[in-house]
Amino acid sequence: MSEPGGGPVLEVAGLRKVFGDLTAVEDVSFALPPGRSLAIVGESGSGKTTIARMIVGLERATAGTITACGRDRSRPARSAADRRRRGREVQIVFQDPYTSLDPRQSARDAIDEVLRLHHGWPAQRRRARVAELTDLVGLDERQARALPRALSGGQRQRVAIARALAAQPRVLILDESVAALDVSIQAQVLNLLADIRDSTGVSYVLISHDLAVVRQLTDDVIVLRRGRVVERGPTGEVLDQPRHEYTRRLRASVPRPGWKPGRGGLLAAGEDGDQDGR
């Protein structure tokens, strides 16, 4: 709401995270302008989820700064009010909607709780907003009243998205949020996310290993390998003309009609795929 002069809604500089002997994240920097979407792409161990967890305050950075809406959040929140304010800046939706929702709470109650916590509105206003949000994510009246166990995976993920949006965040982190969904449902949720961005101006940070999903939803991409950024740029350019050998290997590993899998990371003719295909 108050970042000066339309600067980035989220900025990460020189981010580093060390777990014991392991450097999980090393010198990662990026800036996310309002309304734009950034993908963080990488495989297991690349550090992508660690970055997400540091941004939302679930891990503390070893070094570097994280700034959201012009305010530093590299250090733990000092007070409950500070923590709530951070919640209105950045929210996260996890991969698995089966474990990220309270099993005893209906969609409506989960959303209402966030509204009460963050906005302190009277009941009537909250009720209206709950109806708006459930409508926005395409949950019907019965689904909004249901407990998570009565909902399908796609419906639960809609609940998680609605709950995250209830805080009216400027940035929504989608940590593999569509990875576990059936293809036909994944397309619905991706369309929904695009609509929400158009109507609210929220920015997305999409953490994903799925390059097709990344292409569909994001403007810019950074490619991580073992905690370091190996390539960055506009998503279309990076995927169409990957410059780094590792990005090329990722791209070549995606099945498509006529695709033949190769050992050691098969590549198109002439590319040096074996370098780290161990």
């Binding site: 397309a187 619905q188 390059l211 995927l239 099945p255 050992r263």
Partner: protein, 350 residues
Amino acid sequence: MSAPSPSGAAAPGAAAAAGAGTPLLEVEDLTVWLRVEGAERPVLRGVSLQVSPGEAVGLVGESGSGKSMTARAIDRLLPAGARLAGRVSFGGADVTALSGAALRAYRNQVAMIFQDPRAHVNPVRRIGDFMTEALRANHGVPGPEAARRAADMLGQVGIEDGARRLRQYPHELSGGMLQRVMIAAALLTGPRLLLADEPTTALDVTTQAEVMAILDDLRRDLGLAMIFITHDLELAAAICDRTVVMYAGQVVEVRESALLHADPLHPYTAALAAARPDISRTADRLRAIPGRPVSAFEAPQSECAFAPRCPHAAGVCRAALPGLTGLDGGLSRCARAGELRGRLGEAAGE
């Protein structure tokens, strides 16, 4: 079984699939009910499919389609209380009633590879014990000889230093390495059919490419048949000769993989391919399929299960449950398949 269509100039490769000689595996009108909270629910509804020796068949579907249950029925791994009707024959012999030694002998011919290798190995036993168990117990191969064969087979799946790996425990290996161990273990007893249930879904994309390459090479070298179960239409089409698409416990399409994207025979197959985002372009909007996939027990018995989500549904689709009929060398369970021919492919949906 399929009546070849008069127009069907079978493409190369389809000939073997279309039933030259005896199929290795034949599933006929397989229906399976599971007991859920005291009531019997169907999970498969009249599934028929054939696999020829050496052929790779993809089995594709979303949650609840019955693809994994089909594999479990074939390998006789259905949960307790399951009831089965229909026939599964392997090399011409019915296997649905096998037990004891005969069942063990059958399972040596049909090896299964699962999605999550860690859930299928004993974490406190060494890789070598796990890999050689079947050889020692069922084939009477002495321990040192079994270990030598296991180390050899590890070499074939691209794991060097096999003798050392055999002494390691599962937690010492990465997911991709462990899945290669599972493949090697599955191949040790000399099976004729591999049942691979989402074997690469839990792996990183670059590891998936490596594991698929190994599986593909070995399968061809050894002349093994394979049923490859996946939710990924593109992956199935890339590595399988034929693809079987399932929906709500039924087979809805059987198609030569090379034709699946350009010329599908069932609207569900076309819709599934169109819904997937494309890595080479950003779509204005994805062509999502409305609603959600239904399971066999939720599906109506007397009309097309996909009709409520299908852009081509008409009165005829709700009048009766369509049968699986032959078209252009493939099979389609769509009442309008003939009429829609050529309008369902990649370019046609624009």
